[in-house]
Each structure stands twice: as structure tokens, then as C-alpha cells.
């Protein structure tokens, strides 16, 4: 459905995207993860035809985005990160407008608008101005405008930022349903659990490069199916750097991170390491207030690959 090859984008002397390759199959839900500045939005802008690549090719279905942009764009729907709607217009008027922009007209347009209003759960508020909607409702209309023309590929850039849990759940369910119906999805988000829930394959981007991609299971295997140990410490005199250095000296095969009073490490042998770790902390006269062991997630994979968290 989408083939991206050697995609590069350079602004003046700064290369923002450094040769991305993507091959997304029809009906797939692909999650694209990366912190701010990783190059996700630039990549998406190029895939949508809004930004001309410095190098590389983009193919959507049988159409080349650079050579036949309008034909390629007809196959995709974009849900931008920001609300891209006309606030003084009603939900229905907005959808009618965007439907017309995609070539729908007459009775089929009206029918499709009603259908989409139903999908996004705003049929009852169809004649209310978008400016009177909550953030979540606006985001739902934002999605509605992207799926009116029943695109084969739906690109969603952080579609759930800053909304209430109810709207978030509604959006996730809508996306899940659309994917089940055969729509190919590219989903970018800061929320790991959303990507884990929706996506069959995940790519991790940082510094303009695709660091790795695979299914959730494949990515977790990079951590040797390890668990995360989370230890809460009481106030201490020893500095973070000193603490990490002493732990690393005693257990050089592990990497530790400390944020505030929370110490973390990932290991496939959590029970064994936990005993050693607690002994060391006791030797250093540190008080442990709580211990948690949980299965490693995408955040841990990301941390493992980049050395920083997604929200850094």
C-alpha cells in the first residue's frame, strides 16, 4: 500500500530525515514512534505530498506521490495533529466541505456525511458549530473529515493529544474498526499503549532515522523478553551519578536509570538480580520504599534503543 524508499529531507544544511525506508502492506496498522524532533511529522508531510523530498521515492498504491500527487492523495486520508476544521461552521458543514474537496457530491455525499457522523458518534450534534465542541469532539470531527472519501490509507498524526478518556476510547475503537474493515493505518503517538493496542507493526524513529521496526513481540525480544524492575528510594545523600556508577561497578552487565527517586533496570532474570541489587542498596545505606516488577513495554524498547524516553 505504501512504499517509501531512501526518503531524505534537508532544510538548509540540516538533514531532518536521513534515508527512511518503509513498506506497509494493505490492511496493516503501522505505528510510528519517536520523540519530538525525531522527524515523524516531516516524514508524514512528505508521504502526504505536502513537502517535496530532497531524495527518495514515495508510492501509494500504484501512484508515485512526486509524479502524480493528486492521484496518490486521493488514496489517502490525513488526520493532522492539530484540529484542521472551520470553527464557525457546523460539524455537518465541515464534513460536507471536506467531502466536496475529495470529489464527493449530491446524494452520495449527504449519505456519506450522515454515515461518518454516525461513525464518529456525533450524529446528534451535526448541526452544532465546531467551536462549541469539546477537544475530544473536535478531534472526532477531525478524523471524520479524513475518512469521508473512504481512503485506502489513513495517516493519523497524534490524534488523541489532549482529550478526555471517553473521546480517546471512542477514537481508538473507531480506528480499530476501520482497520478491521480493511483500511491501512499509519498511527503516530506518544502514547505507547495506544500503539500497542492498535498496531500490528511498529517503527521507532529518532534523529531522522528509522532505528528499528517489527511486531510488538519482535521488539520486546530485543530486551530478551526481560522485565522492568522499578525501585522507589527514600531521600538520600548520594548523588544520582554516584549511585549509578557504584551499581554499574558491582553489576556491569546491567544498565540503570534514575529519575527523581525512581531507579529502573531491565533484565530477563529479575528475581536473581533483585536480591543482589537490594543488598547493594543496603550497603549504601539507602532506604527502599517500594519495589515493582513488570513486563517490559515499548517505552523500555525505546529507552533501550535511544537512551531516552519518548517524552524527552
Amino acid at each position: 500500500m505504501l512504499q517509501v524508499s531512501g526518503l531524505k529531507k534537508q532544510f538548509l544544511n540540516h538533514e531532518v530525515v536521513k534515508g527512511i525506508n518503509l513498506d506497509i502492506k494493505k490492511g496493516e496498522a503501522y505505528g510510528l514512534l519517536g520523540p519530538n524532533g525525531a522527524g515523524k511529522s516531516t516524514t508524514i508531510s512528505m508521504i502526504c505530498g505536502l513537502l517535496k523530498p530532497t531524495e527518495g521515492s514515495i508510492k501509494i498504491g500504484e501512484f508515485d506521490m512526486i509524479k502524480q500527487p493528486k492521484k496518490a492523495q486521493q488514496k489517502l486520508g490525513i488526520v493532522p495533529q492539530e484540529i484542521a476544521l472551520y470553527m464557525p461552521m457546523t460539524a455537518k458543514e465541515n464534513l460536507m466541505f471536506w467531502g466536496r474537496m475529495y470529489g464527493l457530491k449530491g446524494v452520495p455525499l449527504k449519505a456519506r456525511v450522515d454515515e461518518v457522523l454516525d461513525i464518529i458518534g456525533l450524529f446528534d450534534r451535526a448541526d452544532d458549530k465546531v467551536e462549541t465542541f469539546s477537544g475530544g469532539m473536535k478531534r472526532r470531527v477531525n478524523i471524520g473529515a479524513a475518512i469521508l472519501h473512504q481512503p485506502e490509507l489513513l495517516i493519523m498524526d497524534e490524534p488523541t493529544v489532549g482529550i478526555d478518556p471517553q473521546s480517546r476510547n471512542h477514537i481508538l475503537e473507531t480506528v480499530k474498526t476501520l482497520n478491521k474493515e480493511g483500511m491501512t493505518i499509519i498511527y503516530t503517538s506518544h502514547y505507547m499503549e495506544e500503539v500497542e493496542y492498535l498496531c500490528s507493526r511498529i517503527g521507532i524513529m529518532d534523529h531522522g532515522q528509522l532505528l528499528t521496526e517489527g511486531t510488538l513481540t519482535e521488539l520486546k525480544q530485543m530486551l530478551n523478553d526481560g522485565n522492568e524492575i522499578i525501585i522507589q528510594l527514600a531521600s538520600r545523600k548520594i548523588t544520582d551519578e554516584e549511585l549509578i556508577l557504584r551499581l554499574h561497578t558491582k553489576m556491569p552487565q546491567f544498565s540503570f536509570t534514575i529519575v527523581g527517586d525512581t531507579l529502573r533496570t531491565i533484565t530477563p532474570h529479575s528475581q536473581v538480580i533483585l536480591t543482589t541489587l537490594l543488598n547493594e542498596l543496603t550497603v549504601m545505606n539507602l532506604t527502599v520504599t517500594s519495589i515493582e516488577i513488570k513486563e517490559a513495554n515499548l517505552e523500555n524498547v525505546f529507552l533501550h534503543l535511544t537512551g531516552r524516553t519518548l517524552r524527552d
Binding site: 506521490m65 493528486k70 484542521a84 472551520y86 464557525p88 461552521m89 466536496r100 474537496m101 475529495y102
Partner: protein, 412 residues
């Protein structure tokens, strides 16, 4: 077709924004009403003063040549009898004539006047005035230039030009700016070309109606508000350019060119409505006579809105950010309005400025409206309308090319 839906959407948003709607539709009427009421006394007086049918002048002929006799008898007395009461007198009686206010201006024909004419040289006259006699000075200046050319066809024009000058002073309540004697002499020395240019510039019709000060004021304000409306709408376009909806449009089937056309249509429609309300409103509320020809008025409205909208679109295409445009727009609108004759009549400007304003959409619109008010027919105004349309086409084409060069369908 997509351009049409962009236009419909823009119009809907405009109509729903009460603040903008009131500002752009109701404000021109309110401003004309308030200022019109405040200035009505002044305007009325000016109109009355302008109804003087003739001026009393003296002629002192020191040359006593065949040429000077012809100038005085044939041109000043015979041809300009309707506006000038000419008394031939000696220079010694001049002081008394001024003191007793028998005359407002004296024309002294110096020795050598006839020789200068014979040798196709530039003749000079000396004009002496007491108080403001600028209209009389203007009449004499043009008459002398006419005489210099000795062109019988032109001689008929002079009479009409003279009438036009008086009418223009009636329109504004202001006199042509030639009160300084040295200015007059310089203009006399300007040679025959000046007259030929004047002949070409002035569109004189026999039996034309007078344009009152309030009429001029209504046209001037109406056209100026048209500029303000265009500025506000273009500013809105630039604001939208910074909004996510702008880019979203170009992921759809809409091309940048269709987008531009849609914006242009909405500019034309909104300004046309505003101008209609201004014309109908001032006619109903203040009895402003916009002319008898509905066809001419509609044609002028259309060409003016099309050309001012193209001007706005062109300026908008040069500027990237709405904030930059907004800060510049107030000043540029005032400059354009001033150059276009919304504040002072164009004929008071220096020649080079008059040339520049000939292609300004608002200036063309204003001139066409004034022509219709004086009774112009479609045959009299169509050329100005065509110029406005050609200017629009050029401005729109440049905007179109600028948008295409930014990347066309992709990389908007």
C-alpha cells in the same frame, strides 16, 4: 467547481462573523452618515460658492499686436464670455479696480508677446491677483496655452476644459492649486505638450451634470472602504495560511490554483455586496445620486471590485505572514486611498502621480463613478473599465505564477 465551494465556505464564514460583517458592511454607511452630517454645512457652503457663473478680470495689453488683440478679443472675450467678464484697462487704473473689488485678477500682456507667438516660442503672461483667484488663473493659463498652439480644434476644447475646471471646483469646494503666480508662469512656459496632454486626459461632455461635494465624498469613502474590506479579507486569507486547514486542503483534490480562484471569487462577492449596500444606502439615506445608468453603475461596481480584489490578492501573494500584512495594510490602504483620490481630487496631484494613479484600481473606480454621476454613458466609461479588468488580469496572473513557483500541487 472546487473553487466555487471554497468561495461558498469563505462566504459562510464571513457572514457568520458578526464583528467583521458589521465592520465591513455597516461601517461605511455609518461613517458616511456621521461625517456627512458633521460636514454638511461646510459642504453646502462650498457648493453655493461654486455656483458663481463668471469672474471679473482686467486685461492690460502692453504689446498691442495682432496676436495680443486676437488673444483678448477672440479667446478671452468671445469664447470665454460665459465665465469671464473682461475689462480692458490701463495699468494706472489697476490699483483702483482691485481696491473697489471690480476685478479679482489682472492679465498683463507684456511687450514681445506677439513676436513670441510668431516665432513659435513660449510666450509669457503676467497675472496679478488679489486674494484667492486661483480658478481665474487656471482659466487664463489654459487659454494662453491654447492660443500658443493656434489650433482651432483645441480652441473648442479650451472652453470645455474651462467649464470642467469650474465643475471640479464645485465638486470639492476647493480651488485648483495654482495660487502662486510663479507657478502659473512656469505652467505657461511648459509649452504646447502640456495642453495636448490635458486635452487627452479630460473627458469633457457637453451638458454634463455637476457632481456635488457630498457625492464625491460618498464615492471616495465607498472606494476607500472597498480597499479596507479587501485588506481585511486578504489578512484573513493569510491567517488561514498559518492554520492547519490550509495544508489539509492541498491533501485533497483541491489545487493551489483552484484555491486562489476560490479566494478571489469570495473577495469579489463580498466587496460587491459591500459596495451595493454603500450605493443603495447612501442613495436612500442621503439622496446621493450615483447616476442614471444602472448598467454603467453595475459595470463600474463589477470592474472596481474585480480589480481591487486582484490588487489585494497580489499584495497578499507577496507577503507570507498575516502579522506582517496587518501591520502594513493600514498604511498602504491609506496611501492607496489617497493616491486613488478618496481624500483629494486626483487632478490636484503632480503629473507623475496622475500617471501612476491611472492604473490604480481604486482610482479607476472612483473616476468611473464620478463620470457616471456627471451623466456619462457606457461609451464614455468602458475604456476605463477595460483598463481595470486588464490590470486585474495581470495582478491575478502574477499571484497565480507566484503560487505555482512555490511548488504547485505539492510543496504548497
Amino acid at each position: 467547481m472546487l473553487a466555487f465551494w471554497v468561495f461558498v465556505k469563505d462566504f459562510l464564514i464571513f457572514a457568520r462573523n458578526k464583528q467583521t460583517f458589521i465592520l465591513l458592511i455597516a461601517m461605511p454607511l455609518m461613517l458616511i452618515a456621521i461625517l456627512g452630517a458633521a460636514l454638511s454645512g461646510l459642504i453646502q457652503n462650498s457648493d453655493e460658492e461654486a455656483k458663481l457663473s463668471s469672474f471679473n478680470i482686467a486685461v492690460i495689453d502692453k504689446d498691442q499686436s495682432e496676436e495680443s488683440f486676437f488673444f483678448v478679443d477672440d479667446i478671452l472675450i468671445d469664447r470665454l464670455f460665459s465665465v469671464l467678464n473682461v475689462t480692458k484697462m490701463d495699468e494706472s487704473k489697476l490699483d483702483h479696480a482691485f481696491k473697489t473689488e471690480q476685478i479679482t485678477l489682472a492679465v498683463i500682456i507684456p511687450e514681445g508677446f506677439g513676436n513670441a507667438i510668431e516665432q513659435h516660442d513660449k510666450p509669457s503672461l503676467k497675472l496679478v491677483s488679489q486674494g484667492d483667484a486661483s480658478i481665474e488663473e487656471s482659466i487664463i493659463t489654459i487659454a494662453a496655452l491654447h492660443y500658443q498652439n493656434l489650433d482651432l480644434a483645441i480652441s473648442k476644447i479650451v472652453e470645455k476644459v474651462t467649464r470642467t475646471l469650474v465643475e471640479q471646483s464645485k465638486k470639492t469646494g476647493q480651488s485648483p492649486e495654482m495660487s502662486n503666480l510663479s507657478d502659473v508662469i512656469t505652467k505657461l512656459d511648459g509649452g504646447a505638450n502640456s495642453l495636448r496632454e490635458s486635452k487627452n486626459e479630460m473627458n469633457v461632455r457637453m451638458g454634463s451634470k455637476t457632481v456635488g461635494s457630498f457625492q464625491y465624498y460618498a464615492v471616495g469613502m465607498g472606494v476607500m472602504y472597498l480597499l479596507i474590506t479587501v485588506t481585511t479579507l486578504v489578512s484573513n486569507i493569510l491567517v488561514e495560511k498559518e492554520d492547519p486547514v490550509y495544508l489539509r486542503q492541498f491533501v485533497s483534490n483541491l489545487t493551489p490554483q483552484q484555491y486562489l480562484l476560490g479566494k478571489y471569487l469570495s473577495l469579489i462577492a463580498i466587496t460587491f455586496i459591500q459596495l451595493s449596500i454603500t450605493i443603495i444606502g447612501t442613495n436612500l439615506l442621503f439622496n446621493v445620486d450615483w447616476g442614471d445608468s444602472i448598467l454603467c453603475i453595475l459595470f463600474t461596481m463589477l470592474t472596481t471590485t474585480i480589480s481591487t480584489s486582484a490588487l489585494g490578492l497580489f499584495i497578499g501573494s507577496l507577503i507570507k505572514k498575516a502579522s506582517t500584512f496587518t501591520s502594513m495594510s493600514m498604511v498602504s490602504t491609506q496611501i492607496l486611498a489617497a493616491l486613488g483620490g478618496s481624500f483629494v481630487p486626483i487632478y490636484l496631484f503632480p503629473d507623475w502621480m496622475v500617471t501612476v494613479t491611472k492604473v490604480l484600481p481604486n482610482s479607476l473606480g472612483l473616476q468611473m463613478f464620478l463620470d457616471i454621476m456627471t451623466g456619462a454613458t457606457f461609451a464614455d466609461i468602458w475604456q476605463e473599465g477595460v483598463i481595470a479588468l486588464v490590470v486585474s488580469l495581470l495582478l491575478f496572473a502574477v499571484s497565480w505564477i507566484r503560487l505555482s513557483r512555490k511548488g504547485g500541487a505539492i510543496h504548497v
